[in-house]
Symmetry: C2
Subunit: 345 residues, 2 copies
């Protein structure tokens, strides 16, 4: 089985300003204070099931140098630059056509670069199971996370219950309102869509050709330059002409043979400060702190993430985000984190 991994790392992480900035977004940051960035943790997590020269990173042209620096063990030629953001379908198409040209039997895991997994062993077991399933079939597997709360921030996968671990997908569901999310949680057959896809390269290129032929045509044209000196220029010229559409809309909601594995490996997309607060270790007053020399007095339920500051003293804050990076500081109520984007426009 010729396993490949495609890591999508094009996000700009605007919800985590100023910790995350367009210059250095969340996937490249040591969000958890563990000494590794999210993308480094993603590679580590997958390394036992995929050799490093079969790992591919698709990212914005702006982030190529960060990726090279943070992932020196991934071959430079496996780091693909999107000259413009075109959502996930063109991104995946570029990587998969490129892989197909050299590895026509590739079996591929596509994953975001900035999610957290707690139980890495179970994660690898689930991914391996999915890879086994797709290796010799035209099925697509999307990993579903068993919900632990009525989360309104994620899309859902509606599975058709069966006794098998791998279940047929009934439908994909948009982010629900709270009532619906509660019903999903109670029902038990609704799973969080983690954006982790497993397929073999024939299946996905064929599905893209069928459901978004415009993208397939552009990428086919691009592919003539793959692995040549003119690849960069050709991609720069053609890639931005792709339709901007997510893989979910483009393929997942249309293709047949979509399966899911309901998984429990402690997953989070770490998509909000609230999610980060939930994930991080907390002191007895429920403060989560990443940063050097931070002292909390008479404060509860805060999430603090500092980078350049040498000493921080916080007194009398309840339920706040305090975050600093490279000379920018944000102090904001956790309950108002959805306003962060407006603050730094």
């Amino acid at each position: 089985m010729d396993t490949h991994v495609v890591i999508m790392a094009g996000g700009i992480g605007s919800r985590f300003w100023p910790m995350s900035t367009p210059t250095c977004p969340k996937q490249f940051i040591d969000v958890l204070g563990v000494g590794k960035s999210m993308i480094q943790m993603t590679v580590e997590r997958l390394a036992p099931i995929c050799q490093l020269d079969h790992m591919w990173v698709v990212t914005s042209a702006d982030y190529i140098s960060i990726v090279r620096e943070q992932l020196p063990s991934i071959p430079t030629e496996n780091i693909l630059a999107e000259p413009a953001a075109r959502s996930t379908a063109p991104c995946i198409a570029y990587a998969c056509w490129k892989i197909k040209q050299k590895y026509p039997d590739a079996n591929i895991v596509v994953t975001p670069s900035d999610a957290l997994v707690i139980d890495v062993t179970e994660y690898r077991r689930v991914i391996a199971k999915a890879l086994e399933f797709t290796a010799d079939s035209d099925s697509i597997v999307t990993i579903g996370i068993k919900p632990t709360r009525p989360e309104v921030g994620y899309g859902y996968i509606h599975a058709i219950h069966s006794d098998e671990e791998i279940q047929k997908v009934e439908a994909f569901k948009e982010k629900p309102d709270l009532e619906t999310a509660k019903a999903y949680l109670a029902d038990g057959s609704y799973l969080w869509n983690a954006g982790i896809f497993v397929w073999n390269v024939r299946t996905i290129t064929s599905a893209i050709s069928t459901y978004v032929p415009q993208i397939a045509e552009v990428i086919e044209e691009m592919s003539k330059a793959f692995y040549t000196d003119s690849e960069e220029a050709t991609v720069k010229r053609l890639f931005p002409t792709c339709e901007k559409i997510s893989i979910d809309y483009a393929v997942m909601e249309k293709a047949p043979h979509i399966y899911t594995i309901p998984a429990e490996f402690g997953w989070s997309d770490v998509g909000t400060w609230g999610a980060l607060h939930t994930i991080l270790p907390k002191d007895s007053e429920a403060n989560a702190v990443v940063g050097e020399n931070v002292s909390m007095f008479d404060s509860t339920g805060c999430v603090v993430h500092t980078s350049s500051l040498k000493k921080v003293v916080i007194e009398g804050l309840d339920g706040y985000i305090v975050t600093e990076k490279d000379g920018a500081l944000l102090i904001c109520r956790l309950s108002d984190e959805q306003r962060i984007r407006e603050f730094h426009d």
Copy 2:
């Protein structure tokens, strides 16, 4: 009239951490965001009534280079180093003995280096009036500030009411409790002690000799080395042997002929964050901001003072101090500012 000014600049400003640190305390900081430090404003305020080579600064040996840098127009030899902090009586004795040796007819204003005056014209008129009064008499004038609120943070001067502008002092009063401060305010004959003294050099050296002879003896011995190459070494050896005592205890509460001028020139010792908040210009939500690129959202009654940060966003804070300097950050309720000293021990 041979007017001299002695600026006492030895404070370590621990109440304003981290804006003010022992490395660079409050008097050397642009606390008000006007482009000048407190000591630079003090010199500017007095320059029209005292030539610059008759201005003297007494400071910690640690701050000599900061003073030279901030006050390049004051002769280097007028910047006196205290090798150890011995409160105000030895500090004033050192400066006044040194002045006496070269200027036996000097008439001297002694002032803190870190207070604010709003009405500088009135301030100069009052100081000139006091200087006129002390030039040919053995009187001491201490400037009294007419209280505008029942302040418990200042010592008081109890004046004997008269129709003259210059009034005899009945007594000095320690910092009062709130009840007493209210009574002082209602009474009208109690004034804030601003720590601004005016006397001629014969009067003060004679008073020190009478009331704190130990200090006078040490300084007399030191004075043999004044204006010689051995001054620094001699001061280093002898000055620390002085009794540690304030000029108020040592002289003001004992000497006869103590007078005050009840003054109204918008004075503040800027001794607390609350005082700074009162002084600074405020936006419509009563936020006072000194710093580059600070945005406030849904916040009221805050005082923000940043130095190195390039961008600051604050949301949802009511009545807080936010201050940063050289990589140290403090967030603290204004009502808890008395705890600041404990935070950075």
